[in-house]
């Protein structure tokens, strides 16, 4: 591997002090439990509610996991942009897919 930019020697962002404590993890975990309970509850109301619950709460849950458990909150802007581009692509795929599914 080339010396000038060896991945081992590249400066990684250092942020040990910013890492969340157990308190944050527990709060996020409780939030995830509440969202899951909400999701289960909505699925018992009707199919429409179940779909809307899936479309709104599941991304929210995934977002919390990304942001706190997978440390996205503490990453540099490049990685955040990459994730946003990926999510944006996914949203466009959904929108185009629904241009068929919602009308056929």
């Amino acid at each position: 591997m080339s010396e000038h930019a060896d991945l081992n020697t590249v400066q990684q962002p250092e942020h040990p002090a910013e890492h969340p404590g157990y308190g944050t993890f527990i709060k996020v975990w409780v939030a995830l439990l509440i969202l899951t309970a909400g999701l289960v509850g909505m699925s018992h109301v009707s199919q429409t509610y179940a779909v809307w619950g899936l479309l709104t709460m599941t991304p929210l849950k995934a977002g919390l996991v990304f942001y706190f458990f997978m440390h996205l909150k503490y990453e540099g802007p490049l990685l955040k942009i990459v994730i946003l581009v990926t999510l944006g692509t996914l949203l466009i795929f959904f929108a185009l897919l629904f241009s068929d599914v919602a009308f056929h």
Binding site: L7, T89, S99, H104
Partner: protein
Amino acid sequence: MTTHAATPQPSYLVDTGSRKGLLAWLTSTDHKRVGVLYLVSMLSFFFVGVGIGFVMRLVQLTPFQHLITARTYNALFTVHGVIMIFLFVIPGLPAVFGNFFLPILIGAKDVAFPRLNLASWYFFMIGATLAVLSLFTGGGAPDTGWTFYAPFSLKTGTNVSLAVFGAFVLGFSSMLTGINFITTIHRLRAPGMKWFRMPLMCWALYSTSWIQLLATPILAITLVLVILERFFGIGIFDPAKGGDPLLYQHLFWIYSHPAVYIMILPAMGAITEIIPTFAKRTIFGYKAIAFSSMAIAGVGSLVWAHHMFTSGMSNLATMIFSLLTMIVAVPSAIKVFNWVATLYKGSIDFQPPLLFALTFIFLFAIGGLTGVMQGALAINVHIHDTYFIVGHFHYVMFGGTGFAFFAALLYWFPKMFGKMYSKKAIYAAWFPMFIGFNMLYFGMLILGMMGMPRRYFVHLPQFHTMHVVATVGSWFLVLGLLAFFGTLLYALFKGEKAEDNPWGGVTLEWTIPSPPPKENFDTIPTITHGPYHFEQESQ
């Protein structure tokens, strides 16, 4: 700029470690060796695919059933598609030339993750083995076509599950290569190699890698769903259980249309390297070509449903996808115009790689224009599922990616192996290839316009003449291919030693010995100008 040292490093072809011979190759993490491993394995699969295609053309030599049964014919076109698409055209240029040349082109000693790179090749071989095994195990070779459309793929008794699982594993190879290339380009460029100083092949590989990374997981999940559906009947795609077969088509093409750009973008990148070298002048419109690669990757990911215009999807969706399909032609045309503009008033040095590059432009233009025709809804309804489609995608994938692969192989062969081939023999091989190709696939375009449906193993008498023309064309084509690869094989063992820079190229690979040393550069070069800096041009 030169990077030769007083004591030269051994070539990458020389075994210097404790392992020798085949074992040394199979365990090497050197990006060049991994590239050669891909080259050998993919060309082997390519010739199997060619053989199957040849037999299918023989079947069409008469209007009646002969040689094989209808079921075998179904299996043959499925296997031909799976081998050619998943084992040759998709990994083709990025896996071979991307692996071999990307680090060299950006002035690095290897890719970012060399072990992962070798693992990608193993994933490729495992996936390929599973796909080939599916032909001989279970209920026999899949008969669904390479698209594995539901609900037929859920019901057929043939060995779809194993073939689909093979494609799933192949997807991992593709994703890992994509991650490796993106990281390599971001982190391992030589000092001074800014983004707009990279050779355009790197831009093409970068765009391709993003598609590999973003689109392949969708196919992987879809294929897993097919397996789950076959084994557990979960009912996602099966209309009998409330599923939606159109959803399968959407999910399949969300990957598989961008996969066309995985196939063609690196091919365009290779052509963009070849043309300035033989025109002896800088590329016309560097940034336009770089951004058009990204635009093709972006817009090309949003046009998938043009494969489904007759499937019964909503009118709104057909109009949106028709419009998007027209738009994707724009960045493709930008590249073609820039290549032609580069040649204009250049000091043309007509050599075999340029001949094949020009052939690529001609054949790809036909493939591209017939693609735009199909983007129009009314025409699409008429020609859907006819030989026109078969002719069109062979112009794009074989005439485009295939001929670009041959051009790239001719261009970089002296660098990769340190041997020069007979140029006269290559010119002689080109002629039957070109004539045979156009007889075969232009014949298919005409047959399609006449109404010949694809995937029929017999045909009506009114289609017979063109079928004979196409089949004779396939003989010329195969003859040319044998002559082409025979010439290269001969050169590999008995060819004259190649010079370090036989074409007068100016990108970094031409500054190092042929074949390249183990670590590419003795000292990492410092880049001070763009990639196509021809001294005589600047004087």
